[in-house]
């Protein structure tokens, strides 16, 4: 379906890639809803994927008591909800991440404050 209008209806999209300094990436940590929603971050496409766990995520999630316990070798990744295996040595772009992609990670065995998924 589309908009009904009395004249041609054609307006620019606000969130296209060109409007941002870097592609936007959405990141969520499953079972840890103490962080109320996934995060939005503009990240340069040549950032190595491995830098997420070492440099990016600690500033966002480090205050959670579970964060220090994460075994990054067992972490499961999802892209648009589907299981996904990124290569930490490759860049975000080479892992196929594009503007406004949404990824999440699950940390088996860690289920938040008192197991409440908080």
């Amino acid at each position: 379906m589309s908009v009904k209008s009395i004249k041609p209806y054609n307006f620019p999209a606000k969130d296209v890639r060109e409007n941002f300094p870097a592609p936007l990436l959405f990141i969520g940590w499953e079972d840890h809803l103490m962080f109320c929603a996934p995060f939005a971050l503009p990240l340069p496409p040549d950032t190595p994927f491995g830098a997420l766990s070492t440099a990016v995520l600690p500033t966002m999630y480090g205050v959670h008591p579970d964060f220090a316990k994460i075994d990054w070798n067992t972490v499961q990744w999802f892209k648009s909800g589907e299981p996904w295996q990124p290569d930490p040595a490759k860049s975000l772009a080479d892992n196929g991440l594009q503007h406004k992609d949404s990824i999440r990670f699950r940390t088996p065995g860690l289920t938040g404050l008192n197991g409440s998924c908080s």
Binding site: M1, S2, V3, K4, S5, I6, Y9, N10, F11, P12, A13, K14, D15, V16, N19, F20, P21, L24, F26, G28, E30, D31, L33, M34, F35, C36, A37, P38, F39, A40, L41, P42, T59, M60, V63, S80, G81, Q98, H99, K100, D101, S102, R104, G112, L113, N114, S116, C117, S118
Partner: protein, 519 residues
């Protein structure tokens, strides 16, 4: 000189006919369709505008007289409230934060409603509908003014009430009500009426007004209560207009039914999402509680809605899509929303806090299936952290739903441990939504929602700094620059209630002990 003939006084009905439809005419220099270009393109077929019934038969002269009397009384109370330092009579300064949300998030909607009804009050071909919309338009403008006046007294004593209009156009969470109304009044006139008069005023408005007004009464805020009483007769008129216009559309042509049903689906869900903030206000922000969000949802939506949609079934209208999900949400959304504002409380124009012990107990009692299991652990953890001087502030911006613009905080139906993610592709771009229903709204009119002014994305695009600010300068602090653009006074309007200027001032004015203010 002849004795003037005493003319028989017109009956109310005749008077209404003379003063409304009698004053209308069909144009002859230009075709009617050219003069009223907006009321056909949505596909709604109207065969006989004379069937439009205005149940109140209000004429302009009666309107002036009646509203003038009401407002005289309202302003007398507001005046007395100010002279008697009524602000000292509220239960606790925490309560004022509910008023801050009302003034920045609801009062500007009255102004938008005024603009919307003024527009459709010009655009309908039928004179009866035009007059009813014009009256409501004036009501909405009056409400914008009287709410502002009723709350202005608090602005002399409390922080965060100083820039409602400025904030409404900029602050992240206020884009939720703002985009709701902009979505409504950029629709056609019939969609606008379905959105505002029916879905919002008729189905959901009790959920907005009752908690705010009884919340005000319970918490000693006579100024806001009096406004509520003054607006009440208008609100019941608006609700009647809402149900009448739905029935009018449905009775005019069977082809209207699916169009109206689509709008009911959309606007019930949009309104429900908008009310998330009211849910949180009711469960967390009133020092003296009226009833839980869950209880008022059951009373005003589940019970009333059952009979409403039973009544509309004879026209072929069913309950809105999303009804079941919205009913399930009654156990969750207030907790999820307050946790969101708590962690982003550095970027809000009101204060947040960890509920006190008795308040946590009240929440456990009111939400026996969900609070202890899912939400209490967050509050206990944050409470402990705050006691150690490590009050939790989330410093990274959240992902937002493209349709309702709320951060993606809502969980899957049946699983409150999983954030609900939905995704659409449109012209090579990805768009994210928080639920099946927000996704469907997006997918139905993607050309419209690709224009969403999403506050987080706008910040990242560099559009939320004051003119002349250089984000590449050394030591540039983006959060401070955004708060400056919002006109949020850092350290006065935002952060935790504990230790705030509002808390200290209120305790000092009331002569409460230092411990009382530290509680």
């Amino acid at each position: 000189m002849d004795t003037p003939v005493q003319k028989k006084k017109l009956s109310l009905k005749e008077r209404y006919a003379a003063m409304t439809r009698g004053l209308a005419w069909d144009t002859t220099y230009q075709p009617m369709d050219k003069v009223f270009p907006y009321d056909k393109y949505e596909g709604i077929k109207i065969h006989d505008w004379d069937k439009w019934e205005d149940p109140f038969r209000l004429t302009m002269d009666a309107y002036w007289k009646y509203q003038g009397e009401k407002e005289k009384k309202l302003y007398a109370v507001i005046e007395a409230f100010a002279q008697n330092n009524g602000q000292l009579g509220v239960t606790d300064a925490r309560y004022i934060n509910a008023l801050k949300i009302f003034l920045t998030g609801v009062t500007p909607l009255e102004y938008y409603a005024y603009r919307g009804f003024a527009h459709v009050g010009r655009q309908f071909t039928g004179a009866g509908a035009r007059v009813a919309c014009q009256m409501q338009s004036i009501d909405e403008l009056r409400h914008n003014q009287t709410e502002t006046h009723a709350l202005s007294h608090y602005n002399k004593y409390f922080n965060g009430l100083h820039s409602p209009k400025h904030m409404f156009d900029r602050v992240w969470y206020l884009s939720v009500p703002k985009s709701f109304f902009e979505d409504a009044y950029t629709g056609g006139p019939f969609e606008f009426l379905t959105a505002v008069s029916f879905s919002f005023e008729y189905v959901l408005t009790n959920l907005l007004f009752v908690p705010f007004m009884s919340g005000a009464a319970h918490n000693g805020d006579m100024s806001t209560v009096t406004f509520g009483f003054s607006a009440q007769s208008d609100e019941s008129r608006h609700m009647t207009l809402g149900i009448e216009c739905i029935k009018f559309m449905l009775e005019q042509d069977p082809a209207n039914v699916p169009i109206v049903q689509g709008w009911i689906d959309k606007w019930f869900w949009r309104g429900y999402r908008l009310l998330t903030i009211v849910a949180m206000m009711q469960d967390y922000m009133l020092p003296k509680r009226v009833m839980s969000w869950r209880e008022s949802w059951e009373m005003y939506v589940e019970d009333n809605g059952e009979s409403l949609f039973k009544d509309l079934a004879r026209y072929g209208i069913r309950k809105p899509k999303g009804w079941i999900q919205a009913c399930e949400g009654k156990d969750h959304i207030s907790h999820q929303a307050w946790a969101t504002f708590y962690q982003y409380g550095g970027a809000a124009a009101f204060q947040t806090w960890v509920p006190e012990k008795e308040e946590l107990a009240w929440l456990s009692e009111k939400y026996p299936e969900t609070f202890d299991k899912y939400y209490r652990p967050r509050w206990e953890h944050w409470g402990e952290q705050a006691a150690q001087g490590k009050r939790f502030y989330n410093m990274t911006l959240p992902m937002l739903c493209t349709t309702c613009q709320v951060p993606m905080l809502f969980t899957e139906e049946g699983d409150p441990t999983k954030i609900a993610y939905r995704e659409s592709d449109y012209l090579g771009n990805k768009y994210h939504t928080c639920s099946d229903h927000c996704k469907e709204i997006f997918d139905n009119e993607p050309e419209k929602y690709v224009q969403s002014w999403l506050p987080v994305n706008q910040i990242y695009q560099g559009n939320c700094f004051k003119e002349g600010v250089d984000p590449t300068a050394e030591g540039f602090d983006p959060l401070m620059a955004v708060l400056d653009y919002y006109n949020v006074k850092v350290g006065r309007d935002n952060f935790d209630f504990e230790g705030s200027e509002d808390q200290k001032n209120f305790a000092a004015w009331r002569g409460d002990s230092a411990e009382g203010s530290q509680k």
